[in-house]
């Protein structure tokens, strides 16, 4: 009977398999703990839900070499300034609506989902809405009655999903909040809708204010 080298033995590889698996898993747990603290709502990467009270922009950052969301002046959604709790409730209802209506099986969100309809990551900032003043109401109207509206030259249309006005407004809040997530520059080369104010206010819009840190 010839002998097997230790590095080719069953027992060595059994132990190696166990240690590699356990080691990778422990590393993943630590990375997960760290990532969770980095992406909790209210962190620098994922702003608090009350960010929907502010203007959100998407601007190239020289240092990080990609576009990043910038939280700007106060610009409440539907002209209503919400508390953190109210904002969370609204965004959550919007998120529930996107799940209940199965949005992800046509659209992508943060790039994940299906590819039959456009990505929604920066839906709030898409130039297609024309002007920032009519955007909110256009989004609500579209969500409630998409079937008759102009979509594209392909004939692809969003079906009527029975979205109520409350659900539509909540969905818009969710989309606005999602546009504020720092996605490491995804999507790239995106040109957001023009949100600049009449010249007098330009300076404050360009500078922006720090991301709200409360709540979550």
């Amino acid at each position: 009977m010839s002998h097997t080298e230790w590095w080719a033995s069953e027992s060595f590889w059994r132990k190696t398999a166990i240690w590699v698996t356990a080691g990778s898993f422990v590393a993943l747990i630590f990375l997960t703990l760290d990532s969770m603290s980095a992406i909790t709502a209210g962190s620098t990467r994922v702003p608090a839900y009350s960010v929907i009270n502010h203007r959100i922009d998407y601007v190239f950052d020289e240092k990080r070499n990609f576009q990043v969301p910038v939280i700007g002046v106060e610009e409440p959604l539907f002209d209503q300034t919400l508390t953190e709790a109210e904002a969370e409730a609204l965004v959550s209802r919007g998120k529930l609506t996107t799940q209940a209506k199965n949005c992800m099986n046509c659209h992508t969100l943060l790039g994940n989902g299906a590819y039959y309809a456009p990505d929604l990551t920066k839906a709030w900032l898409d130039p297609s809405w024309g002007s920032k003043d009519v955007r909110e109401q256009m989004m609500v109207d579209f969500l409630m009655n998409p079937q008759d509206r102009l979509h594209n030259g392909l004939g692809r249309r969003m079906p009527n999903l029975g979205i109520t006005e409350g659900e539509a407004r909540a969905t818009v809040a969710f989309l606005k909040w999602m546009a504020s997530i720092d996605t490491n520059g995804f999507p790239a080369n995106f040109t957001p809708i023009d949100q600049s104010d009449p010249p007098a206010d330009d300076a404050s819009a360009a500078n922006g204010s720090p991301i709200p840190q409360q709540g979550g």
């Binding site: 009977m1 010839s2 080719a8 990080r64 520059g185």
Partner: protein, 114 residues
């Protein structure tokens, strides 16, 4: 930190990345075949495939701007060295694990061997 691929380098990126895997597999295949059939004449072909891999990795590294930062340069080095040695290591493991010749013991108690 990453430097995204420029538009004109898209095709080069996809193509060279595919060639990395294909050349790597071809190298492994020729290497193992030359060893198992004891055909040393095939061995230069295996290393030719590895040279193809080196070229593909370097093209990929240029196209995907991997030399822009230290970390990604390290990944390039890792690929060049790792893919060179992997077939050798796996071959040794094949020889080692198939070494003992006694009949199979159906799930018998585990034997310590060293």
């Amino acid at each position: 930190m990453i430097e995204p691929v420029a538009l004109q380098d898209f095709f080069l990126t996809f193509f060279s990345a595919a060639m990395v895997i294909l050349c790597g597999a071809l190298y492994a295949l020729l290497f193992a075949y030359a060893r198992v059939r004891r055909r040393q004449r095939l061995m230069p072909l295996a290393y030719l495939a590895y040279l193809g891999l080196v070229a593909s990795v370097l093209v990929l590294a240029m196209a995907a701007n991997l030399f822009a930062t230290g970390f990604w340069t390290f990944i390039v080095m890792l690929m060049l060295i790792g893919y060179l040695l992997a077939p050798h290591a796996i071959w040794h493991l094949c020889v080692g694990t198939h070494a003992h010749d006694h009949p199979d013991q159906e799930s018998g108690p585990y034997q310590k061997q060293s």
